[in-house]
Symmetry: C2
Subunit: 327 residues, 2 copies
């Protein structure tokens, strides 16, 4: 995916990983080159995560204390110690438009006591992140934790509101808990979330997840699904998911999605895209990624449009019906 294509797709914000950029090429280098926008030549908005998620995703390499997290690089095994202050400093060096407080993404399943201990530490880290943040022009978001326990979520929310952030992220979801449970908690909390701030549901999700979360008041999302699944040959279409490797597409001269107006669907057949995937052509990843990102961005454009028109309900109903019809 090139920056040129992201513009063509109408992407307005992209997410960059603090952990990965800190290790390689290094936040010092990016700062020297004028920040991440300049380094990667992206004039749109950028959001950076805090690095916490990646640090903990290599949990066997990480050791947590009140001060921060000691971890080893997944690249070369070198030792690092990341604190809320360092996370914010790195994010200031990168110069993203939206940055995140450093937190622990509480794993699932977890006892109530463990979830509270983890949440309270994340809230102390949220305070330290907030205090360490000095750059103007960067919106700092706090991240709510509390796992699947609504009262812990409320307690977390209260502490974040006291500190005072510019946006609210909901972390610790999409980590293995039942899908319905996440939506039940979002439903319970929805009315209590501040109305003057964007609500960012981290790590979610499928097209149906996004739609349901929007209906529960969520505004922002990030997810690897459209790009990772593209590389694995899983395409999103208006009539559901399509595994391009499937032999039924061998001679299928139709586009991936006849309702899609991206250049891939305008020009290439399922048969050709299947051939590229089966042959391990890089072009397979390239074209699939473009299509999937187009699908997601178009979905969210329609969601925003129908919210303004007051017709989200009927749009969502039609979308769900067609999406479950099968390709």
């Amino acid at each position: 995916m090139t920056q040129e294509w992201l513009q063509e797709l109408g992407a307005e914000v992209l997410l960059s990983n603090t952990y990965h950029l800190y290790l390689r090429p290094g936040s010092d280098l990016i700062e020297r080159s004028g920040g991440l926008h300049q380094f990667m030549s992206w004039n749109g908005a950028i959001l950076t995560d805090s690095g916490g998620y990646q640090v903990f995703s290599h949990r066997e390499l990480a050791r947590i204390s009140e001060e921060g997290v000691k971890f080893r690089s997944h690249l070369d095994g070198s030792a690092h110690f990341i604190t809320p202050e360092l996370s914010v400093q790195i994010q200031e060096q990168l110069g993203a438009d939206i940055i995140m407080a450093f937190d622990e993404c509480t794993p699932y399943p977890v006892t109530r006591a463990q979830a509270r201990e983890s949440m309270l530490r994340s809230m102390r880290w949220a305070q330290r992140s907030h205090s360490a943040h000095t750059h103007q022009g960067q919106a700092l978001f706090g991240i709510m934790q509390g796992s699947i326990y609504p009262d812990l979520r409320r307690e977390s929310l209260g502490r974040l509101n006291e500190i005072g952030f510019e946006g609210l992220a909901l972390g610790g979801f999409s980590v293995g808990e039942p899908r319905d449970l996440m939506f039940e908690i979002l439903d319970q909390l929805s009315d209590e979330l501040p109305h003057h701030q964007p609500r960012y549901l981290m790590g979610v999700g499928t097209p149906l997840d996004l739609l349901q979360a929007v209906e529960l008041g969520m505004d922002m999302f990030d997810c690897v699904l459209p790009t990772r699944n593209a590389r694995n040959g899983m395409l999103f279409t208006s009539c559901g998911q399509l595994r391009i490797k499937n032999s039924r597409y061998r001679d299928d001269e139709r586009p991936v999605d006849s309702d899609c107006d991206c250049f891939v669907c305008a020009r290439y057949s399922r048969s050709y895209l299947r051939h590229l995937f089966v042959s391990h052509e890089i072009l397979s990843s390239v074209l699939n990624t473009f299509h999937n990102l187009h699908f997601y961005l178009e979905l969210m454009r329609n969601v925003r449009k129908t919210i303004e028109l007051g017709t989200l309900d009927s749009f969502a109903r039609d979308f769900r019906e067609q999406y479950s019809s099968g390709c």
Copy 2:
């Protein structure tokens, strides 16, 4: 590399490999879908090789006889027998605009006797390829062999002229022989090649090779260098080759080639491209490939233009001087 980008780059002909397409997805499937142009959605010209080169490049899997070559698929080990007649039939199914006679690309080094035996068989196969070719609207090229022996090359040329092809390919070069030896032979043969036919030097080469070969009367080339080297981080520039992995480019905010007007050089720095390469990002291959193809196609556009203007000599002198100046 997408077809959209090939058009943007001004590519007019692309080469497809008969061997690979025969094995996967199969020439029957491509014929059913309306031919290769339709299958891959490419409206420009297509040239297919005969399959011989790939069959012999897995030499341990191939056994040659007067009738043809028995080989095993590098994909699944399945047994196949390809003859001049089958090669032409497959190429007719694929429906390329320019197709090639089936030949043996004589390996190097080789004794004179072996080279003559191989060449004479290729000439008998050339006759059989010609007889098997029935489709209108496909130009069939003969392929000259004879290794590094000028008299064998002449004998091969004479036989091809007798058969009567629509273009002359020079095969069996760029197979490990000294570079100077190839040019010496091209120089000796140049005046004897038919003037009414395109001369296609197969498998060549570097930018300097192309220039020198053009000066010796060559018209057409094919080579993996611009794309394969791109994936390996080797970029072609007006001041020579550049290994983007080199640590000297770590902080280098200049474009790959300040004389280049491709979108990669207009937008991205060496520092960023180095980061993509070191991080094994697919985008590294994508951007490097675009740049290298742009460099090659621009070089050949300049060559054609200066031939028409009668200024090829001075263009070639300037190009060589700058190309050897180093980046």
